[in-house]
């Protein structure tokens, strides 16, 4: 089964094509966000691999958390590809995709994505045979809150993601038991989306296409202001 993977939750635009056995092709463009290149990048990948959309059996997409505008481009692209091609879709969170390649570490894994405005999106995982399990819910909060959370958890920690890089100085306050993954692993990769999604496609654990939306974790500014007014603060 051939699956397309897409992730646009950070300033990196990442696409991949793979099967249960291998990644057939992948491309990631880092730097200033240019999400409009998702579809042309995918087109190039298919052409180079001598594949057509008619051979694709599923679409895996990173639903964040991450930067809203970029996320929407990736999610809408994936939904429409799946809808038009009549194939199933699987939503993968971008934090799961960050933690997944770290699964051979015996440490606690903190996946951290920069949420701008002095906050981070994060989740904490522990490695188990064959993958990782999430120990804490997906959250958005200031990095010192994440640091305090990690401080309260025993054991060594591996922090991964562009948010971990950016707030390294804050997270380091928990002491020498924290280590940081390389910057080459700082963005969710579409190839990880493919690897995580293929077993779900094979088990037919698809998502309902019309229900796939970005995992925002944060309301719009207008709604935040409205709620604040409604509470009278």
């Amino acid at each position: 089964m051939i699956v397309i993977g897409i992730d646009t939750s950070t300033s990196q635009t990442s696409v991949a094509v793979g099967t249960e056995n291998e990644i057939l092709a992948k491309a990631s463009v880092a730097g200033p966000a240019r999400q409009e290149s998702v579809t042309p990048l995918l087109q190039e990948l298919l052409t180079r691999s001598d594949l057509t959309m008619s051979q694709i059996g599923g679409v895996a997409v990173g639903v964040g958390p991450g930067l809203f505008t970029g996320l929407r481009v990736g999610v809408e692209t994936a939904k429409t590809l799946a809808q038009v091609s009549g194939v199933p879709i699987v939503a993968v969170t971008s934090l799961d995709a960050l933690a997944h390649p770290m699964r051979h570490s015996p440490r606690l894994i903190a996946a951290v994505i920069d949420a701008r405005r002095g906050e981070v999106f994060s989740a904490i995982y522990r490695a188990v045979p064959g993958g990782v399990v999430r120990e804490r819910d997906y959250t958005v909060h200031p990095p010192d809150r994440l640091m305090a959370e990690l401080q309260a958890m025993p054991g060594e920690v591996l922090a991964v993601g562009n948010g971990a890089m950016l707030y390294r100085h804050v997270l380091e306050e928990i002491g020498s038991r924290i280590e940081f993954a390389s910057s080459i692993a700082a963005h969710p990769e579409a190839s990880a989306m493919v690897e995580l999604a293929v077993p779900r496609f094979l088990r037919e654990e698809h998502d309902r296409l019309f229900d796939v939306v970005p995992l925002y974790l944060r309301k719009s500014d207008a709604e935040i202001a409205w709620d604040r007014r409604a509470r009278g603060v």
Binding site: E36, P40, F68, T69, R72, E76, V213, E223
Partner: protein, 335 residues
């Protein structure tokens, strides 16, 4: 030849199918008005989120209504600007994916050009030249179209768009958001000559507009009446305010058509749904021996049929858009 149109530049998610450029097979809109109502205006982030939820079910429904499959689409036309960046990107992402998955050609379209093309769906395209008045919540603009697809912007608003002025005054007198239709209805019960509001830039000799002076005058009138303990006659206020806007639009549009030697005037945009603007322009054009076209009410507001129609016409003359096109919130009309 089948063209799919997608429009997500503001707060309406819209999908349409046209056949051979001018025949509408299906034209659907998922309105978000209720989501923005409590904020008193369109919130870009709320709009973009709603597009992601609404667009794919709407695609399915539209194709069902048009009785076609995705494989029958020859071209996919999509609004690439002007509009809200985050909102535009949702429709464009879908259009590009659809193009990749089906092999249909992508054609990027200017939203404002689409607004006056809405006329051609119902009346067919008359011979150019035209003068087009485009009035909506975001734009107030007079454009000369010497030949198809060529535009010379004659003038535009220096501050608020006409639709914005309608919304602000409607809010001031408690009509809620969006205020245009409610204000129009209330104005029909009032006397348009009851209060003399300024006709900003009516005699400026150019084709630019300004709404801020009028807005201030309305506000001053409301405050003065309240201070004097007088009851405001809201229908008179609404009618007089509306008349001041309409007067300037009619005067300038007719002058532009005469200056350009254009026998045809095209109206487009949400504010063209205003009944007073329609009747006054129709009457003025008749007096001057000019032809004026306006779209029916559903085609005045943002819709995808106009986008599909324009995209199909541009496709027919060989235009294709590359898959890596970016959204352009300030997109200009082609010259």
């Amino acid at each position: 030849m089948i063209t799919l149109g997608i429009e997500t530049s503001c707060d309406e998610t819209a999908v349409a199918v046209v056949e051979d450029t001018f025949v509408v097979r299906a034209n659907l809109i998922a309105s978000q008005v209720h989501l923005h109502e409590r904020f008193g205006g369109v919130v870009p982030e709320v709009a973009a989120r709603a597009h992601v939820e609404a667009l794919n079910p709407l695609l399915e429904e539209t194709l069902g209504n048009a009785e076609i499959g995705f494989g029958e689409i020859d071209a996919v036309a999509v609004t690439t600007g002007p509009g809200l960046a985050g909102a535009l990107l949702v429709g464009m992402a879908a259009a590009k994916a659809l193009s990749l998955a089906t092999g249909a050609d992508l054609v990027g379209v200017n939203h404002l050009e689409g607004h006056y093309w809405a006329n051609f769906l119902e009346h067919g395209p008359p011979e150019p030249p035209y003068v087009a008045l485009i009035v909506s919540g975001g734009h107030t603009m007079l454009v000369h179209v010497p030949e198809m697809f060529r535009h010379v912007v004659l003038g535009q608003t220096l501050d608020d768009a006409a639709g914005e002025a309608f919304d602000k005054v409607a809010r001031l007198i408690g009509l809620g958001f969006p205020g245009g239709p409610a204000l129009d209805a209330m104005a029909r019960q009032g006397d348009p000559h009851a209060i003399r509001f300024p006709r900003a830039m009516e005699d400026s000799g150019d084709f630019d507009f300004s709404m801020s002076g009028l807005k201030t005058a309305v506000l001053r009138h409301v405050k003065a009446s309240r201070a004097a303990g007088q009851d405001l006659h809201l229908p008179d206020l609404a009618a007089s305010f509306q008349e001041a806007i309409v007067d300037v639009q009619v005067t300038k549009t007719i002058a532009a058509a005469k200056d350009m030697g254009s026998p045809t005037i095209l109206l487009g945009g949400g504010v063209v749904a205003n009944t007073r603007l329609r009747e006054r322009l129709a009457a003025a054009a008749e007096r001057e021996g000019l032809r004026v076209l306006f779209p029916s009410m559903p085609l005045c507001t943002d819709n995808a049929a106009m986008i599909a129609c324009l995209g199909s016409a541009r496709w027919t003359r060989g235009e294709r858009t590359s898959l890596d096109i970016a959204a352009d919130p300030q997109l200009r009309l082609s010259v």
